[in-house]
Structures are given as C-alpha cells and as structure tokens.
C-alpha cells in the first residue's frame, strides 16, 4: 500500500521544525530514520498532513561527554551504537543491545531518538534507557526540558512527549569501573521482535550488589523495570539462592498480556529463564 498524500518540509533548525509543527495545527509528524513511521504511513495507520524531516538538524547529531553524562544526539543511528567508541566505553549496554535491533539495513537508518520516541514496548533501546537511568532531553513549543526515563514511558506507544515536542538527545550516566552490565533476548528468529528481552546495570563491590536496575521489554504495554526483583538483589551476593529469589519476584513485577501466541505464563517463564541467565553471567564477571 502507499501512504496518503502529505506535504514535506525539511527543517534545518529545531525552531523551524517546531514552527512547522505548530503551523500544521499539530497534524504533522517528525520523521528521522523513518523505519517505523514509513511502514505506518504506508499501511495508513497514520496519515498526517505534513511530514517534517528533522535529519538535517545539526543540533540533534553527535555523541559527546558532558560532565558525568554521555549526550547521545537523537539522530544517532543504531549502526553507530556499534561503531562509536564513546558508546563502547561509556554506555556499553547500548552497544550490547544494538545487534539485536531489527536487521542491519534497518540499523543503518533507524535512530536512537526515534526508537525512544516511538516507545515500542518490544524494542530494545527504550527499555535500556530505563536500565541506564537515562534522561530524555526534549524541545517543544513551551521550551526545553529534561525528563527521567523512569517518568517517560506511560502506556502503549504513549510517552510524556506532548504534541509538537521532539527528543533532541538522551543523556546516559557514564559507565564506571565498579559497574557490570548484561543484555540478552529470546526470539524465535534473529531480528524478530523478542518474546522477552532484558538489560541489567549493576554496581558491585566484589560480588555484593550495591545497586541494580533491571529492565524488560516485550512483557507488557511499556518497557518495564522489575523493582521487586531489584530489591531482592540489593545488598546481597549473586549466589544461586538469591538469583532464584529474584526470579521468583518477577511474578509480582510483571503482568504479561493475554496473547494467543505467547500466553502470559509462558512469557513469565521465559522472563525468569532470561533473568537467571543474565544474573549468572554478572556473577561470572564479578
């Protein structure tokens, strides 16, 4: 199918993009990599009057250190997560997740900011912003603001982004020497949406966990931190008994939706299996 007719405007500054959105009476969509938006337009799930191309806005580009954070420009492409040395050094969880995002040709074009803005509950990167305690930097009609990833994801494809707002960058606390990370997902075929996926960021003293953030995707309407499981792990070592306790806590943390393909009990089981594997790996590294 083909998209419904729309007008197209290529913005070169954030102000131009915001202004165009306002002029279209908010019947507009920003387009960056377009790897989810173009199919949605082609299937006519969406039909805005105006498409505002933001890929030529320099301010949205680049990865750089800013104090204790890594500022990752919204236009950073998925493939750059695999090639950018600053990501490998200071946000290695993103580099670990990147090979699991769709297929190579999609990664050549899809953007980090676009993935987070879409907030697909089955996507890797939105969930990783939760594990990383990231902050989302936003520009909109009422100015600039920053919001914690914890407060950003509201419901199915619904975020704290207001009409006319766009993500300009994502800030990640720099990876530290006493931190460990783990990522994996279970999928029927490589590149398919995961049946369940998980990323973990932990701060350790020896084998004792001082702090941990565990985020799942493909488990419900939004990417989901499992705070019950996190609580069972903090202050304890990564022994088999403690890992089993964390796995047990998932039942209270997750409420997978009804689905013919993957019943809730199966998804919960897979989440337990995955968490066990990842915590096991963290323990081996410690």
């Amino acid at each position: 199918m083909k998209a419904r007719a729309f007008s197209y405007f290529r913005a070169t500054t954030i102000d131009q993009a915001l202004d165009a959105h306002a002029r279209a009476g908010d019947d507009a969509r920003f387009i960056a990599g377009g790897q989810s938006l173009v199919p949605a337009l082609s299937l006519r799930l969406q039909a805005p009057r105006l498409l505002i191309d933001i890929t030529h806005i320099d301010e949205l580009r680049g990865v750089r250190r800013e104090g204790g954070h890594l500022r990752i420009g919204a236009l950073t492409r998925h493939c750059e997560m695999l090639s950018e040395p600053l990501i490998a050094e200071f946000a290695p969880l993103l580099a670990a997740a990147a090979p699991f995002v769709a297929h190579p040709a999609i990664r050549n074009r899809g953007t980090f900011g676009g993935s987070v803005a879409l907030a697909d509950p089955a996507s890797e990167f939105p969930a990783m912003t939760l594990a990383l305690d990231a902050e989302i930097e936003i520009a909109g009609p009422s100015g600039r603001r920053r919001i914690k990833a914890d407060d950003f994801f509201i419901d199915l494809f619904e975020t704290a982004l207001q009409p006319g707002e766009l993500i300009t960058a994502i800030h990640i606390p720099l990876f530290k020497a006493d931190q460990r990370f783990a990522f994996d997902e279970l999928a029927r075929r490589r590149g398919d949406y995961a049946l369940v996926g998980c990323g973990i960021m932990a701060t350790l003293t020896g084998r004792r966990i001082d702090d941990v953030r565990i985020s799942f995707f493909s488990v419900g309407n939004t990417p989901t931190r499992v705070k019950g499981a996190e609580a069972t792990l903090i202050g304890s070592g990564l022994d088999a008994e403690r890992i089993a306790a964390a796995q047990g806590a998932l039942e209270g943390d997750l409420a997978p939706p009804e689905s013919d393909e993957v019943p809730p009990a199966m998804r919960l089981h897979l989440a337990r299996v995955l968490l066990g594997r990842l915590l096991g790996r963290l323990g081996e590294d410690a």
Partner: protein, 178 residues
C-alpha cells in the same frame, strides 16, 4: 525568518524536484512527497533491478546503497533522499564490484526465481566491505532481513562465504581484491 512559505500545507498533491546521484550520474526527478525511493527508481528512472516486495521493510528485496550503506528503498521517501548518492544493483553490476558475488551465486544455484537476489547482493556487498571474513553465523545474521522463498538460504550463505575467502586470499596475496 525560517524559509517556510505560507503554502506549506497546500503542496500535498504537487510534485517536488529531487536531485540524486544514482549510480554515479546526477539525475533530477519529479516526485510526490509520498513516493518512496523504490517507486522513484523503478517508475521514474526505469531502474527495475530494485524490487518492490513487502513495501514495509520486512523482505529486503528493495535494498539499495544510500550514501554507501544498505537501506530499504521502500522505507525512504524519495524527498528524504534529496542530495544523496544512491547505488542500485544496476550500478554495482556495471562497476563490476560484485562480479565475483554474482558469479558465485550463479555457480552455486544461490538463486532460483531471482526476486530476492538484488537485495541479497547489495546486502552481501556491504557485509564484505565491513567484515573481511565473516563467520557463517555472521553471514546468516547479516541476511536476517532478506527473505528468499526458493533456495533455503544454504547456497546463498555458501556463495558469500566462498567470495569472502577468495577476496581475503586476493588481499593477502597483495592483489588488492575485487
């Protein structure tokens, strides 16, 4: 102030001119904003080697190189590509840079109907340009977004694997490769 005309929203049905460098040649194209790059290539420029399959980024038949990276031309509107360099299967064939891949696909029956082959070749070329000697697992992973409904993939992986080894051998021998 921002270069936006009052007519911003009146142009949905009007065509706009895009400038592309397709297979090394500068071209101008009149397209509607909603025309995808694959439709522009096939219908306006008559480059029908790029195939339109699923038109939603799942099958990989429409892969082209955009500024040197393999992308789905069904997931790019032609207007987005204004100013970009596009290389299609026709250009890669004429330049001879995939002649060894084409020969190996032919020799090993890595195609039957041929519908997926242009996308397979574009993808394989990019893989081998980035990873000198990929493992079979890496080849399979790279091809995970390319559907083939005829061959069962084994011969395709064999062909790419063989070319990777040949090119490495040529490089190591100081031949410079393909």
């Amino acid at each position: 102030m921002n270069g936006l005309g009052e007519t911003l929203l009146d142009e949905a049905d009007e065509t706009v001119r895009v400038r592309l460098i397709v297979n090394g040649r500068k071209v101008n194209c009149e397209v509607a904003p909603r025309d995808t790059l694959v439709d522009c290539l096939r219908d306006k420029l008559e480059l029908t080697g790029t195939h339109a399959g699923c038109e939603m980024g799942a099958c990989g038949a429409c892969l082209v190189q955009l500024d040197g990276r393999a992308v789905h031309s069904c997931l790019v509107f032609a207007v987005q590509a204004d100013g970009a360099r596009i290389d299609t299967i026709e250009g890669l064939s004429e330049r001879g840079v995939i002649a060894d891949l084409q020969a190996e696909f032919h020799r090993r029956n890595a195609l039957q109907c041929g519908f997926c082959t242009p996308g397979m070749l574009v993808n394989a070329q990019e893989l081998l340009s980035r990873v000198a000697q990929p493992s079979r697992e890496e080849i399979r992973d790279a091809l995970s977004g390319n559907y083939c409904r005829c061959t069962g993939y084994e011969a395709i992986v064999d062909a790419i694997d063989a070319v990777a080894k040949e090119r490495s051998k040529a490089r190591n021998a100081g031949g410079g490769g393909a």
